[in-house]
């Protein structure tokens, strides 16, 4: 079984490029060039240098001793929260801004949910002196105020998406419309492993540095580069894609993808796409998608803005369908409690997105000898207000 993209842009039956003709020249140019550009030694050198000196990579792989004791297994945290800007998102935006420069683009657009991708995009635009417009749902602007302020300080223009559910899905629609209206000078930095081919593959490759590091770090610490489990939260799925990438074809390593159940998978207020979704087309790709019987995309819900998305990247749809990854769904309440637990046990305040991944230890029992690597995808500073309100701190 192949879990990578094939030459036609598909992961099994998922993927492809379902785009209006207006976007064809842009997407096609990217498709023809992205692998060549990424393989250039100059590109690699600049990318790796920035990841090291600017982002602060490698991010530590940390053995969480007290958390491991509590759950009687061996838990390692891949500390993407320690990256510059506070999440894994910057790995991809560094890669894509270098790509945009090589394609001769001068204007950058992005969508954002929790604001982490927006901040990471605004950051690299400041670094490269490029114009930056970030689309963000009106609801998300309200619940992620600190990130909105950060983007503005970094010189980006934040445009509210006022249509539909006014969250990540709608911000993505607006970004795509902007791209249709500005086809020549603009590059669209998609933040997740979604969108038309080659985006899911390109984003995955830029995020693959995460699993690349896990391999040698785990080998250094345990003598074996293979964990028993890799765990990551999943909205569109860029963090999970990067965490899995170098292990996709290693059957000894089990993959766990953690979705947001919101108020409960069957509550009608959920974002658990692998359970609630059916094959369909969203934002340029065929994937699993929450929708009505009639094919209208439904409005998801999660307390976490970054997981509040009705689809999932096509690679993950394929991992779900083939059973390569086990998908679990975590409610708002369980995620919040797991987040607070990490604060108390390890002195780390995680992003609410990440808290979903941490909550699986209450649901699933691991063996004492199991090595479980959890992607700590982001830090919780941006979520303080939500934590304060939830726990009445």
């Amino acid at each position: 079984m192949n879990y990578n993209v094939n030459e036609k842009g598909y992961y099994g039956e998922f993927g492809g490029a379902f785009i209006p003709e207006m976007l064809y020249p842009n997407v096609e140019e990217l498709r023809q060039k992205y692998l060549k550009v990424m393989a250039e030694p100059e590109f690699q050198k600049e990318f790796n240098q920035l990841l090291k000196d600017y982002v602060g990579r490698p991010s530590p792989l940390y053995f969480a001793k007290r958390l491991s004791e509590k759950y009687n297994t061996k838990i390692y945290l891949k500390r993407e929260d320690l990256n510059h800007t506070g999440a894994h998102k910057i790995n991809n935006t560094i890669g894509q801004i270098l790509m945009a420069k090589r394609l001769g683009k001068t204007r950058i657009i992005a969508e954002t949910g929790a604001g982490q991708h927006g901040v990471a995009t605004a950051t690299v635009c400041a670094l490269m002196g490029m114009e930056c417009i970030v689309y963000m749902g009106e609801i998300d602007i309200a619940r992620q105020a600190p990130n909105v302020a950060r983007m503005k300080m970094l010189g980006a223009k934040v445009v509210p998406a006022l249509s539909g559910s006014r969250t990540l899905k709608d911000a993505t629609n607006e970004a795509i419309r902007d791209w249709i209206n500005n086809p020549v000078n603009t590059h669209y930095i998609i933040g997740s492993a979604i969108g038309p081919h080659p985006y899911p593959d390109m984003v995955t490759r830029f995020q693959a540095v995460v699993s690349d590091e896990i391999k040698w770090q785990l080998k250094e610490q345990t003598g074996n580069e293979n964990p028993d489990y890799l765990v990551a939260c999943i909205g569109g799925g860029s963090n999970a894609a990067g965490t899995y990438y170098h292990y996709l074809h290693n059957p000894d390593v089990k993959l766990i993808a953690v979705e947001a159940a919101g108020l409960g998978v069957d509550s009608g207020e959920s974002a658990a796409t692998s359970v609630l979704g059916k094959e369909g087309i969203i934002h340029g790709c065929k994937t699993l998608l929450m929708q009505t019987k009639d094919g209208q995309i439904t409005e998801p819900y999660s307390i976490s803005a970054g997981l509040d998305y009705p689809g999932v990247g096509p690679m993950h749809a394929h991992l779900a369908k083939t059973g390569r990854a086990e998908f679990m769904a975590i409610t708002d309440d369980d995620a919040m409690n797991a987040g607070l637990e990490l604060c108390k046990l390890e002195g780390i305040i995680p992003a609410i997105e990440t808290s979903h991944a941490l909550a699986i230890f209450e649901q699933k029992t691991f063996k004492p000898d199991d090595v479980v690597v959890v992607s700590l995808s982001g830090r919780g500073d941006k979520d303080l207000q939500n934590y304060i309100e939830y726990f009445k701190i």
Partner: protein
């Protein structure tokens, strides 16, 4: 012969109007179609509303949202249209995004279109390559014409490819934009219209996006077989209701 093909053979410039089915009210569909035909419109695009219309600007987005709130679905639309051919003769095209058709089943969708007397489809997010490889045979089996878009950025090579796959007309998007974003044409558009006209494509072209009045209609049809009006008509219906359609059409064709 397919009604679109017959219409394209007529010795006149064609006016095609888009409207969103189920807007402003759920049951306006049939009366809008009849009124447009009565007032001399040559062809109609019936918009099947979608929750996430990527290629559309605010006017058509809002009408789609309202239509869905009103209860419009694929099933409801097909029911409303089931007797349309008893009274309406001009070509009817369904314009919609791919996901609702995909969920209905592409073959079942095409079959129902054929039974009702729909002549063609415009599906902005179904790329010509995917259509050609996966769905062309189904469309042809049911005698449906699929209409593809080209834009000022489309390369000559790709335009030739689209022309070779097309079997009715080519929908020429006037400028790089979502619907309803432009007002009037500049030199850049004129140059593009001239370039395409000189390519001598086998399919005639109909220009859409940015046509809103007699001026732009006349300008566009200088270079093309016809023009399509969408957002301007939806706006008109929003502002003046569905009883003054004749006024709108007369203003375009005056």
């Amino acid at each position: 012969m397919n009604r679109i093909k017959a219409k394209l053979k007529e010795d006149k410039k064609l006016l095609s109007i888009y409207f969103t089915a189920g807007y402003p009210n759920i049951n306006d569909t049939v009366s809008i179609i009849k009124d447009l035909e009565k007032n001399g419109v040559d062809m109609i695009e019936i918009g099947l509303p979608f929750s996430d219309p990527l290629a559309d600007g605010p006017t058509i987005q809002d009408s789609s949202t309202q239509a869905l709130k009103n209860g419009m679905t694929t099933e409801v639309l097909f029911n409303q249209l089931k007797d349309i051919r008893k009274t309406v003769d001009i070509p009817l095209i369904i314009m919609g995004y791919f996901n609702p058709m995909f969920q209905y089943g592409v073959e079942a969708f095409c079959k129902t279109c054929k039974e009702i007397g729909i002549d063609g489809l415009i599906i902005p997010d179904l790329p010509v390559d995917v259509y050609h490889e996966e769905y062309q045979a189904i469309f042809e089996k049911f005698g449906l014409i699929n209409v593809f878009l080209i834009t000022p950025q489309t390369s000559d090579e790709r335009i030739r490819f689209i022309d070779s796959i097309s079997n009715g007309f080519i929908y020429m998007v006037s400028s790089a934009s979502t619907t309803g974003a432009q007002s009037g044409f500049g030199d850049e558009q004129t140059a593009y219209f001239e370039r395409i006209a000189k390519m001598n494509l086998k399919n005639p072209q109909i220009i859409g996006f940015g046509i809103s009045n007699n001026d732009t209609f006349t300008q566009a049809t200088k270079y093309a077989k016809g023009a399509i009006i969408g957002s301007a008509f939806v706006k008109h219906v929003t502002n003046e209701g569905i009883t003054s359609i004749s006024k709108f059409v007369k203003n375009i064709l005056k």
